[in-house]
């Protein structure tokens, strides 16, 4: 097999180019967002948020059918209700935010499962969880492009606030930073990116694209900016390799991208020179310092 057959021929198909482009676009914004989620210990919150989108999508499908914008807004409403609802619960009641999140997302996910199992929608759980990166349409691409560009722009504009709020929220707030607003902004951005990714990739792949590159980058980098860049690079590289593996090996495409990102994570976990498991074992019980 020549280099052309291996790397270029698969992309003579339009669906391959579309799938790749949408993965690259969302990988760029997800790679950025993932770093903040990982550093602020919100990784599991992303997982919770993603599941809570289901009832919104199901209701939107029932009311408006397959239109991309309807599904987008359905998911957005459900995700924001979960995020804002748990923020509100944690302020008004004794319940802490993580518990509020954990409870709300389960209720939402349950509602979604009940809806799609009883109502005649053309969504099934497998589509929602794993999507299909080979079914990306023109409107999906426009959506992914807009969300990705918006996320990257916001990171560029508010880089300083994000940096401060991520590493030293107390200092940030003491110096007049709007910490609550930045936090809410993160939640909204996460929901936006998840919803944009959900329709084409499903939420599992979307989370893989957000978290795996960020965790891997965390194991190699000490500076925030280099972690951001490496994370985006890994997300994009993993998407390209994953789609090619899917093409040549005949594997499901979403799973194949996640597995490539997972391989990068595994390599990082084992071989990272300063924070990897092998080094940890060599040094005995001494815990590697945190970044």
């Amino acid at each position: 097999m020549s280099v052309h057959d291996l790397l270029l021929a698969p992309f003579s198909y339009e669906f391959m180019r579309r799938g790749l482009l949408s993965a690259v676009l969302l990988g760029a914004s997800g790679g950025l967002l993932g770093c903040v989620l990982v550093l602020r210990r919100l990784a599991l919150m992303g997982d919770a948020l993603s599941h809570s989108l289901l009832p919104g999508v199901a209701v939107a499908w029932l009311l408006f059918g397959t239109s991309t914008s309807a599904l987008f807004f359905g998911g957005l409403v459900a995700g924001l209700l979960t995020a804002l609802g748990s923020a509100l619960l944690s302020r008004l009641t004794r319940v802490k935010e993580d518990a509020a999140f954990g409870s709300l997302f389960i209720v939402f996910f349950g509602m979604g499962v009940a809806l799609i199992s009883k109502l005649p929608t053309r969504i099934n759980l497998a589509d929602f969880l794993f999507g299909n990166v080979l079914g990306v349409g023109a409107s999906d691409l426009r959506l992914a492009g807009a969300v990705s560009a918006g996320t990257v722009a916001l990171f560029a504009i508010f880089y300083r606030s994000i940096l401060l709020e991520t590493f030293d929220p107390v200092f940030h707030r003491a110096t007049g930073g709007r910490g609550g607003l930045v936090h809410l902004g993160f939640l909204t951005l996460t929901v936006l990116n998840l919803v944009a990714a959900m329709q084409t990739m499903g939420i599992v792949l979307a989370l893989g694209l957000f978290l795996l590159p960020a965790v891997s980058a965390y194991l190699w980098c000490d500076r925030f900016i280099s972690m951001l860049l490496l994370s985006v690079g890994l997300a994009i590289g993993g998407s390209v390799v994953g789609i090619l593996v899917s093409f040549h090996a005949g594997l499901a495409s979403g799973a194949s991208i996640v597995l490539c990102l997972g391989a990068a994570f595994l390599v990082s976990v084992l071989f990272s020179p300063r924070y990897g498991a092998l080094r940890g074992l060599r040094l005995g019980s001494a815990r590697p310092p945190a970044a």
């Binding site: 698969p10 198909y13 339009e14 669906f15 391959m16 579309r18 799938g19 397959t66 499962v113 199992s117 009883k118 109502l119 005649p120 053309r122 969504i123 099934n124 759980l125 497998a126 589509d127 794993f130 299909n132 080979l134 079914g135 990306v136 349409g137 023109a138 789609i243 899917s246 093409f247 040549h248 090996a249 005949g250 594997l251 499901a252 495409s253 979403g254 799973a255 194949s256």
Partner: protein, 299 residues
Amino acid sequence: MRMPRLLAALGLAAAACGAQGAQTPPLRVVTLTTVLSEIAREVGGSHVSVVGLVQPGVDPHTFNPSPADIRAVADAEVVLASGLSLEAYLDRLVAGSGSSGRVVAVGDALPEAVAMAGVPGAGERDPHWWHSLDCMLIATDIVRAEFAKARPAAAADFSANAEAYQARLRGLKAWAAAEIGRLPPNRRHLVTSHDAFGYFARDYGFEVHAISGLSTDSEADARHLAGLIDLIRRERIPAVFAEDSANPRLVENLVRETGVRLGATLYADGLGPPGSGAETYDSMYRHNVRAIVDALSAR
């Protein structure tokens, strides 16, 4: 939706009792697909009350029974399932309900002569037997025999009803054969969302090229999709089809990439909802045949 129908059936039964004195109550039948509901109602007539658990438009591959469904199964005297592993939940449902009723997996009872062999290598068998009219004719007989066993007194009525229904199925078969006869054999390629039309293809000499496998659950891969695109171009296949209970995204991408026509949406996994024009077996089958012939015969 289910309750009024049940009440109506009870009302009917009460009326029948009034007319004929102390009579046996209607046979309680639960069905797991919309097609079997129709067969049961047609064959059973006023002697049975039919509760269909899977509503039209709901994907039977991924259906999940609710407690109310389990209770209906527990009460049933006869449970009609499609069989051939379409209802992956069947064993759990029956065991969980503690039903003492008779469970008939109609597809499993089909004789070798009309049933399709397993997919080579996979060992899976195609559960979509109702797309073959020969299977429908035999399925009607299977249901008739089960009903007659449960209510021997009404056996003559069941036979008469079954024969009337089978006569209509034969009429449909003749119509379909004539209709598809208009399509030259080299046009008989069926590109669909999932592999649901194996029986249809066997009966009318089509070749099926499905995007995903026998269940709507299986996911397509890039190489397979690329192969389909090459095939559509090579064989100059004029149209592809989406299905009513499957996500149409991949089919839409095939259309965009190859410029083929998108045929009318096919009913792959059961009857259509009220108002769809495919709410009976006859109208569902005619819809599918017309959609396929129209889309594939156009230049």
